[in-house]
């Protein structure tokens, strides 16, 4: 899903901004569309969105930084989210997360040196009856143990 896409052109950005501009409350759909296409909110988009929606760049930055999802720089090729919430903790989620981060030599939000995987914390994936849970890009995985995690990481090229 997340791809290290080439630098987007202004036309591409403008098209995504425009296609959402007439919605009621257009900003989040716009940001999602940009991030889906480019893996992050590209810098040149900031002024363009601000102009189109008649808000300041500071306001826009305030919105982008409020939400955990939006990033202003690209992530790794894949994003691995490991659930840190209570139901997964009850099934050993903490140990799994610590072990995974240690194995990759990363902290939360870090990306492997080869750019393959970024590891993010997530607070519940709705898989609380089959924890510990994780999600690789858009794919859910339940009852994650060391073996399943290794397989996921290998598949992602970490």
């Amino acid at each position: 899903m997340q791809s290290a896409a080439p630098t987007p052109t202004e036309d591409e950005i403008a098209a995504l901004i425009e296609s959402n501009a007439d919605l009621e409350g257009p900003l989040l759909p716009m940001l999602h569309a940009l991030q889906e296409s480019f893996g992050h909110i590209p810098r040149p988009a900031m002024q363009m969105i601000a102009d189109r929606l008649n808000i300041t760049k500071a306001e826009l930055h305030g919105v982008i930084s409020f939400y955990h999802d939006f990033r202003e720089a690209p992530a790794g090729k894949h994003v691995l989210k490991i659930c840190r919430a209570e139901a997964c903790q009850a099934m050993g989620g903490n140990a799994l997360a610590e072990e995974t981060l240690a194995k990759l030599g990363l902290d939360w939000h870090g990306t492997t040196i080869n750019g393959a995987v970024t590891v993010e914390p997530v607070y519940c994936l709705g898989l609380c009856a089959c924890g510990p849970a994780a999600m690789m890009d858009d794919r859910c995985v339940g009852r994650v143990d060391r073996r399943r995690m290794d397989a996921l990481l290998a598949e992602a090229g970490a």
Partner: protein, 502 residues
């Protein structure tokens, strides 16, 4: 031959896609129908094979089981699914179709009672619709348990050029997945419920604010809206009536606090998801300042069955002021986890010892957190507590969205209290000081207790009081529930007798 396999994300997370591939390879002529999940997550992937019109279950299935499942010789045979204890003991009103039908087949939906409620509502006035909801006794399933009919009345009575129905599908509580299950397993129910709400209060536009952590639910709901539009259930002149109602799916962006209704509305408007002070109520000044019904997924998805079977039918289940059914989500360290829908009034002990079958690890039960990250930790001594809003509240608990997270005796309760504060600090919207600063100080204070500082317990108690009394919303206001319940019920783990390491 008809074979049913769930496409629910929990089933997929446990290998349903691999099982489907193996089934198709073993029997290319078999018709594989994808459904939601029945809610028995410990049996997922649960394959059902129709034999003489009866669906027989096999699970938890793996790809190597495929051939034996198809020829009926599999050791994973469970018998007819409807005869399983877990299914037989439920009262499925809201979840009647989930796991049974193809979620995206309008024909299936109608054949199982779908649209009957909407058709009836189309013969009623707005006030009659609101009255029906009041009579049903339906209370908001998102957490606060506010009477849905009263909220609708306020919006109904307001005068505005545009009103809105906003569905809160932000389901951020750990241990909850009922919203996800219904959106993935029976999306038309939610659409129908929102349409009825629109008719009731005079709103022609709806939004589902759906968390981004649920990509499968987003995909199913988006598709379901398109189908509903094509079938005339949404849009102009719904089902040939003079009424119009349409809706959009909007994706959240990873902020727990956006489940709080005013924060959600700000987010939907494209702002920071900061909590608004109330009043004004969203019912009067909600989305874009217009009168807005904000209801949880389960509240809205329960509306169609109320109109299909009548308000009295719904009101006939439950205890006290908690009418209808509670959609229990049994999670964490349990032998049998999943969704169980039953009348309000079931006791905590019944759910954990009987339904859930104790812990998954087989170790002794220690605590259950009910109602999400802002809910209390309850010990075994609370097992007689009946699950009704007032009844459970009297025991110091919070039903919330009805998620239960079970822990075995290895749980570190001081660690869980610390996590509650940490979570509040990470997710605070930052508007009010008791929550924004209090949560950070809370983590530090619990760390002091862990280091053996006896005075810190008093400080923590005091801090929790300040957060309870002074926070703008229940994020800061209820974080003291898990913290103080852990401290009250498991004082030994906060005791300073373990010598300071220094």
């Amino acid at each position: 031959m008809k074979v049913y396999v769930p496409m629910d994300s929990a089933a997929k997370a446990l290998g349903a896609e691999e099982v489907v591939a193996a089934l198709q390879e073993a029997a290319p002529e078999a018709q594989v129908i994808r459904t939601g999940t029945r809610g028995m997550i410990w049996l997922e992937p649960l394959v059902e094979v129709e034999i003489d019109g009866i669906r027989h279950g096999f699970g938890p299935a793996t790809p190597v089981d495929a051939a034996a499942i198809l020829d009926g010789s599999s050791a994973k045979a469970l018998g007819p699914v409807d005869d399983l204890d877990w299914m037989k003991r439920q009262t499925r009103l809201t979840f009647a179709r989930v796991g049974v039908i193809d979620p995206l087949s309008m024909d299936d939906y109608e054949a199982h009672g779908g649209l009957a409620g909407l058709k009836r509502a189309l013969t009623m006035t707005g006030q009659q619709i609101v009255d029906e909801v009041k009579t049903s006794g339906l209370r908001g399933r998102g957490g606060a348990g506010f009477p849905t009919g009263i909220k609708w009345q306020t919006v109904h009575d307001s005068d505005a050029p545009q009103k809105y129905i906003v569905c809160n599908a932000d389901e951020g509580d750990s241990g909850t997945f009922a919203d996800r299950m219904i959106m993935e397993g029976d999306p038309f129910t939610l659409i129908e419920g929102m349409a009825i709400a629109g008719l009731g209060v005079g709103a022609t536009k709806g939004y589902v604010y759906l968390r981004s952590e649920y990509p499968d639910a987003i995909a199913v709901m988006t598709r379901a809206v398109e189908i509903a539009r094509a079938e005339g259930v949404l849009g102009e002149n719904i089902l040939g009536s003079p009424h119009s109602f349409d809706m959009e799916i909007r994706k959240g962006a990873g902020a727990y606090v956006c489940g709080e209704e005013t924060s959600l509305l700000n987010s939907l408007e494209g702002k920071r998801g900061v909590v608004r002070a109330k009043p004004p109520l969203p019912a009067l000044e909600g989305f874009l300042g217009r009168p807005t019904v904000v209801n949880n997924v389960i509240s809205l998805a329960t509306v169609p069955v109320i109109f299909e079977k009548g308000a009295e039918h719904h009101a006939s289940f439950g205890i006290g002021k908690s009418r209808g059914t509670i959609t229990l989500q049994i999670a964490g360290n349990v032998a049998r986890g999943g969704l169980f829908e039953t009348g309000f009034g079931v006791t905590l002990g019944e759910v954990i010892d009987d339904l859930a079958g104790g812990t998954a690890t087989g170790r002794p039960f220690k605590a259950v957190q009910v109602g999400g990250p802002l809910g209390a930790y309850m010990p075994r001594s609370k097992f007689d507590a009946p699950m009704g809003y007032e009844e459970f509240g009297a025991e110091g608990g919070l039903i919330g969205h009805a998620g239960l997270v079970v822990f075995d005796d290895t749980a570190d309760m001081l660690g869980m209290a610390r996590f509650a504060m940490e979570f509040c600090a990470v997710e605070s919207c930052g508007k009010c000081t008791p929550c924004r600063i209090g949560a950070v100080r809370g983590v530090e204070t619990i760390d002091r207790i862990a280091r053996g500082d006896a005075d810190a317990v008093t400080i923590l108690t005091d801090l929790c009081e300040t957060m309870t009394d002074g926070s703008l919303c229940a994020l800061g206001g209820f974080t003291p529930y898990p913290v103080m319940s852990a401290l009250t019920h498991f004082p030994d783990e906060f005791s300073t007798t373990k010598e300071a390491a220094e």
